[in-house]
């Protein structure tokens, strides 16, 4: 037998530093179909230990302490037993981090997972509040927590309820049961989509709204608050979803509409009045008056988050030293800006700032294999938000920024009630998936200016197959891409439903584009084709 010619020096170097990008063969780490790892990636001694202690162990430990802190193990255990979306998702959270951080090294690895930590904490805080107040797991009994919780549609910005935040907790209805769960474990949401279709809903309306309705159809929504505030965001289907939610929840409901033509000053004035109406409804329902000081206090805290976000964008746009990867950027930003103020965001931002400042001062490029700076536009596949990680590892596509991150591009003035209300109205109307999608199609074409601003040379164009608004401008984008000679690939998907266009199919589409249009070779050929159809 021929003796293998081993390069021990290289082996030692790979052990100590991790393999260089082109030699990693990350695709070989997966078990077939399940997406589980045969073994987790060896990233070199320092990065592996960092990931083991500061990400894996740290997050597992905090998942326990957060549960203890926010509602205790009994509420949690009852919740896991009662609600599919909770039980099937909570325990798989670490693997969500795994998927979002594959291949990261150095400063990128030190910055990106903090965003997941923030989201996990916030998620636990929310579902624990739901469980603490839920009447369904305590035989219909209403407790103090139930009376002190405000339920609202996930697309109603949590800031609307800041004036009561010293006495009440506001918990978005669908943010955890639907939105977070399909990122973390895409299996759960299929049940809800199927449930609503089983009562006769056609398959074509927005699957996000279908899933939200399905939660109610399957009686899988905790009863955690005495009333609810809903809205018309993101689309016609969301308006209609409110009808089903009203029927199945059967509690006082206030519709806080987001007017459509938000550029119009008349519309802006109207929106301000609607917000005041909502506040009066909350006052009536809670019996607690509007607290201006509390609102100001919370808005100031939220403004700090926005100011840091601007700093981040600045680094992302003007340098190669931005350490946050595409999936962390997108998910954290939309979560944080929509949910509103939460102390964990400040904690995580502080950690990230440290890393980012280090990158800038030492001129560290955390994504050295970047071949293309990509802007991702329109709404993303929730079941495959981590495609950006794959795209960087496989093709060197670095998703620098995405549309949803750019929605809430503002701080809110607190110098007077009028200014504050006016800014809150703007913020409200710029809700997720909306600022660029409604109020005139010219907004969706803000793509070009952002592409320039963030110095991007390629567009990942999300193609939500059941989004009527985006499908309705499909051809114009094609025309503009051609006219401007922009490199763009379309990514068809059905938001949370991984069955419509699988992750594997999405990768195939990008692979095809990169080979046939861009004529490029993959950085890691092992990632070109693998089956993760059963993965979370």
């Amino acid at each position: 037998m021929a003796k293998k010619n081993r390069d021990y020096k290289k082996l030692a170097r790979d052990f100590w530093y991790g393999k260089p990008h082109g030699e990693r063969r990350l695709g070989e780490l997966y078990e077939d179909k399940t997406g589980l790892y045969k073994h987790r990636e060896w990233r070199g001694v320092s990065d592996t230990l960092y990931y083991f202690y500061n990400v894996w162990l740290y997050n597992y430990a905090h998942m326990v302490t957060d549960v203890m802190k926010y509602g205790g193990p009994i509420n949690f255990a009852k919740g896991v037993w009662r609600y599919r979306w909770l039980g099937q998702t909570y325990l798989t959270a670490i693997h969500w981090i795994d998927r979002g951080t594959e291949g990261l090294r150095g400063e990128a690895l030190r910055a990106s997972p903090w965003h997941h930590r923030g989201m996990i904490n916030s998620t636990i805080k929310q579902f624990q509040r739901m469980m603490k107040a839920d009447t369904k797991i305590r035989g219909g009994k209403k407790n103090d927590a139930w009376y002190h919780t405000i339920a609202h549609n996930e697309t109603v910005w949590g800031g609307m309820f800041y004036p009561w935040s010293d006495k009440f907790e506001s918990v978005p209805i669908e943010m955890v049961p639907y939105f977070v769960t399909c990122h973390v474990n895409c299996h759960t949401v299929h049940n809800y989509i199927d449930a609503v279709q089983s009562i006769g809903l056609p398959g074509d309306p927005c699957p996000m709204c279908q899933a939200e309705s399905g939660l109610f159809v399957l009686d899988d929504m905790p009863d955690y608050a005495p009333f609810m505030v809903t809205c018309n965001e993101a689309c016609d289907a969301s308006v209609a979803t409110s009808t089903l939610q009203d029927w199945f929840w059967d509690k006082p409901l206030f519709a806080l509409p987001m007017p459509m033509q938000f550029d119009d000053p008349l519309v802006h004035k109207y929106c301000m009045k609607e917000i005041e109406e909502c506040w009066k409804f909350v006052e009536e329902q809670t019996g607690v008056p509007f607290n201006w000081d509390q609102l100001v206090k919370m808005l100031k805290l939220q403004n700090e988050l926005q100011e840091f976000e601007w700093e981040k964008w600045d680094v992302a746009a003007k340098t190669d030293f931005y350490p946050i990867n595409g999936v962390s950027q997108a998910l954290y930003r939309i979560y944080q800006s929509q949910y509103g103020e939460n102390e964990i965001w400040h904690f995580c931002d502080k950690k990230v700032r440290k890393v980012m400042e280090r990158c800038v001062s030492k001129k560290i490029n955390p994504y050295p294999q970047t071949r293309h700076r990509v802007i991702a536009w329109s709404c993303a596949p929730l079941y495959y938000s981590h495609w950006c990680t794959w795209a960087y590892n496989c093709w060197g596509l670095n998703v620098v920024i995405n549309m949803d991150s750019l929605m809430f591009d503002m701080t809110i003035r607190t110098d007077s009630y009028e200014n504050c209300l006016s800014d809150m109205a703007t913020y409200h109307m710029w809700a997720p998936m909306r600022r660029m999608a409604v109020g005139g199609m010219h907004h969706i074409f803000e793509l070009w200016e952002n592409m320039e601003k963030f110095n991007c040379d390629m567009v990942a164009m999300y193609d939500q197959l059941q989004c009527k608004g985006m499908q309705g401008v499909h051809g114009l984008f094609e025309d503009e891409f051609r006219k401007r000679n922009v490199n763009a690939f379309w990514m068809p998907h059905a938001l949370p439903d991984s069955r419509t266009v699988s992750r594997m199919e999405l990768r195939r589409i990008i692979n095809d584009y990169m080979t046939t249009v861009m004529h490029e070779e993959p950085l890691d050929p092992s990632l070109l084709d693998f089956d993760d159809s059963m993965s979370w």
Binding site: T34, L36, Y37, K38, H39, R40, W42, F52, W56, L57, Y60, V80, W81, R84, G87, Q88, L91, T92, I94, H95, D98, H187, N191, I199, F216, V217, L218, D219, W247, F248, D250, P252, L253, F254, K273, E276, E277, K280, F281, E284, W536
Partner: protein, 80 residues
């Protein structure tokens, strides 16, 4: 080799050593769990199927039987 005269010190030393050994062992075990994704495999192959079986067999309310009273709620209008 001299015999240690201080009984307390010796006990403390042993305890520390045991503790250190325990921590080290825990680290090693946890690292094995981490590196070979044993947590993922356990969750995917054992916990999730059990939970799903439970959720699939749960008795659920027939929500289509929920009442839908036409006049139950007022028009929430305040600035009139």
């Amino acid at each position: 080799m001299k015999k240690c005269k201080c009984k307390c010190g010796c006990k403390l030393g042993k305890l520390l050593a045991k503790l250190l050994g325990g921590v080290l062992l825990a680290n090693v075990v946890l690292f094995i769990v981490f590196f070979f994704d044993l947590d993922g495999k356990f969750l995917f192959k054992v916990v999730e199927p059990l939970l799903c079986k439970h959720y699939d067999n749960m008795e659920r309310k027939d929500t289509l039987k929920s009442p839908y009273d036409m006049d139950k709620y007022p028009s929430y209008q305040f600035n009139s």
